[in-house]
Amino acid sequence: MFLQQLINGLTVGSVYALIALGYTMVYGILGLINFAHGEIYMIGAYLGVIFFGIFTLMGLTASNLPLSIILTFILSIVYSSAYGYTIEKIAYRPLRHAPRLSPLITALGVSIFLQNYVMLSQGAKDKVFPSILSGGFTIGNATVSNLQIFIMMTSVVLMIILNLFITRTKLGTAMRATAQDKKMASLLGINVDKVISATFIIGSGLAAAGGMMIAMHYGLINFYMGYVAGLKAFTAAVLGGIGSIRGAMLGGIVLGLVESFGAGYISSEYKDVFAFGILILVLVFKPSGLLGENLQEKV
């Protein structure tokens, strides 16, 4: 049972971590909580279903399943990134120098808009994602599905790539510089607008990947799935220390495990209570989050 709950928790946790990264990166640079981020996750899942459906109609899934999965991933990540870029350009950029409350309200507006947009265009009913990558194996008395392994592996790979990107590339360095001090970075010749766009594109891509994997895992998506997922991922980001990239990864995993073990060992009826209860505990005892030191740097 312990092992099984551990695997369950890690699977959900790694997806929380992927979404949390988008929150934390945007917060790190703009100081804005992008409430529309959960909707990007939802849109990613929908695009996954749509592209996978197109490939099935074309007959590609039957002849070459791995290729069609990879193509679905790439296409919906690209498409969702375009959503993220557009949202930033339309909804946040004009408010760059407005009081902090204004972009926050716009973010909520964008979130409501996207939810209803998807409801009207795709219908209010749940959409079913076909079961792929079925099967699995057992370790001891725990059953691990291939999909769970796939989700964990993909998340880890994406996180490693992100980490390398942030630490080793020029754009990544520019991002960190902008996060530390926007004005100074622009004085040194960094195109801040471009960096911010890149942040939204990367964050959206990660959320879309998470959305698609959840769609594959549970096989059921709907237009309001982004709300709870976004809330949980936001919790994970705050838990790990908002603004800190490693914190978001850790926060996501911790949140997944807490939920899974809480539901398994104490009571499944209070699953969400554990998730948000731990947030309160962290905020009371360590308000900057688990790995939230770099917040001080910012000040």
Binding site: T11, A124, S131, T138, Y218, L220, G264
Partner: protein, 375 residues
């Protein structure tokens, strides 16, 4: 999607509606129609049930209007969307009262019908639910609250008897979705199996959640012969799917909330073998053949509750006709006296407003389809 085109023409309809209303204002009084209302989960994850309901009621209203309406007036249908949220149900109920409906068909979910029934009762508006099975609804001593479906104490008992006598299960795990309906049904089932079958696990989960792996891992440790779930198809479908992924072989049994094609879509191949309690198959009832034909022509294959919504609307309209008035108290009295002979056979209500004779039967998913397996 028909939904999107509906929304596209909605503003146009509103404009036309305003124009027509504006022209006619001086000429004749507006009270030339009799309004009846129907409310349920029209959007959201349970919208399949809501749409079935709306189509069923609409069909009844259209048929009555073709025959000249009721009391010499045309019938107008007011549709409310409660999104299976009790808070929303209360505001929908208040809106219905303001719209001046003569009677209600619905709500669908017990958790919505209960708070809404108090509002209708205060205003003496009769309400016939086609799907709320929680016993409490008709135990409130309200005069004008009826239901044409069964009750969860009957349903839970039937399920328990089947598990004990036919499946001969030794142990069960019980799950529910913490709603009035789900938890109520799970409790009734537990009452029925207590002492005969070992209950290895009893717990709730959150409606709208997608991940039940944690609770199912607990279920797996108890190694039950059967999992009983009190709830609706979005969670039911995921439970059966995720329990197979965890290597649980025990079949799922549930109530009327999982009946229908949506459950099969969600659970796909894993749905096979799932049991449920529900009313008898209408395709085998001779008097329902006409309904099935007309409904299929207009809205496609009837959902599990389409016919109940249709019959409920018919009884309500018959009640208005018998009462020869739109006064709620008089309609309720008339409905109590009704002996309605129609699509589902003869329907009569007892003094509480429950339907006399509500036989539950067992259904099972066989070859990717729901089939009635007991008499």
């Amino acid at each position: 999607m028909p939904k999107s085109s509906y929304f596209k023409i909605l503003p146009v309809l509103i404009l036309i509606g305003l124009t027509v209303f504006g022209c006619k204002k001086g000429e004749e009084p507006i009270a030339n129609v009799i309004k009846i209302g129907t409310a349920g989960p029209m959007t959201g994850d349970q919208s399949a049930f809501g749409q079935d309901q709306q189509n069923g009621v609409k069909l009844a209203v259209e048929e009555w209007n073709l025959k000249g309406g009721v009391l010499g007036k045309k019938i107008e249908l007011v549709v409310g969307d409660d999104q299976h949220d009790p808070k929303q149900a209360v505001s929908v109920a208040n809106k219905m009262v303001n719209d001046g409906v003569a009677g209600m068909v619905g709500h669908f979910n017990s958790s919505c019908s209960l708070p809404a029934s108090r509002i209708y009762n205060e205003q003496k508006i009769p309400m016939i639910t086609h799907g709320s099975t929680n016993p409490q609804l008709t135990e409130q001593n309200f005069k004008g609250i009826f239901r044409i479906c069964g009750r969860d104490d009957q349903q839970g008992k039937k399920a328990a008897e089947f598990v004990i006598n036919d499946l001969k299960a030794k142990s069960v795990a019980i799950l529910h979705d913490k709603t009035t309906y789900g938890q109520g049904l799970a409790d009734e089932f537990r009452k029925g199996v207590e002492g005969e079958v070992k209950v290895t696990y009893h717990g709730g989960l959150t409606q709208g959640d997608k991940d039940f792996s944690a609770v199912l891992t607990n279920v797996k440790t108890g190694n039950p012969d059967l999992i009983f779930f009190g709830g609706i198809y979005p969670e039911g479908g995921l439970i059966v799917k995720q329990s197979r992924a965890l290597g649980i072989k025990a079949p799922l049994m549930s109530g009327d909330g999982v009946i229908g094609d949506e459950f099969l879509n969600i659970a796909a191949a894993d749905a096979e073998g799932t049991y449920a309690t529900f009313a008898p198959d209408i395709s085998k009832i001779p008097s329902a053949a006409g309904f099935v034909r007309t409904y299929t022509k207009k809205h496609g294959k009837p959902g599990p509750y389409s016919v109940y919504a249709y019959v409920a609307a018919n009884i309500l309209l018959q009640g208005i006709k018998d009462a020869n008035s739109t006064d709620g108290g008089k309609i309720s009295e008339a409905i109590h006296k009704i002996k309605y002979d129609g699509t589902l056979g003869t329907i009569e209500f007892d003094e509480k407003g429950d339907v006399k004779l509500s036989p539950y039967v067992i259904w099972q998913v066989k070859g990717g389809k729901w089939e009635q397996i007991t008499k």
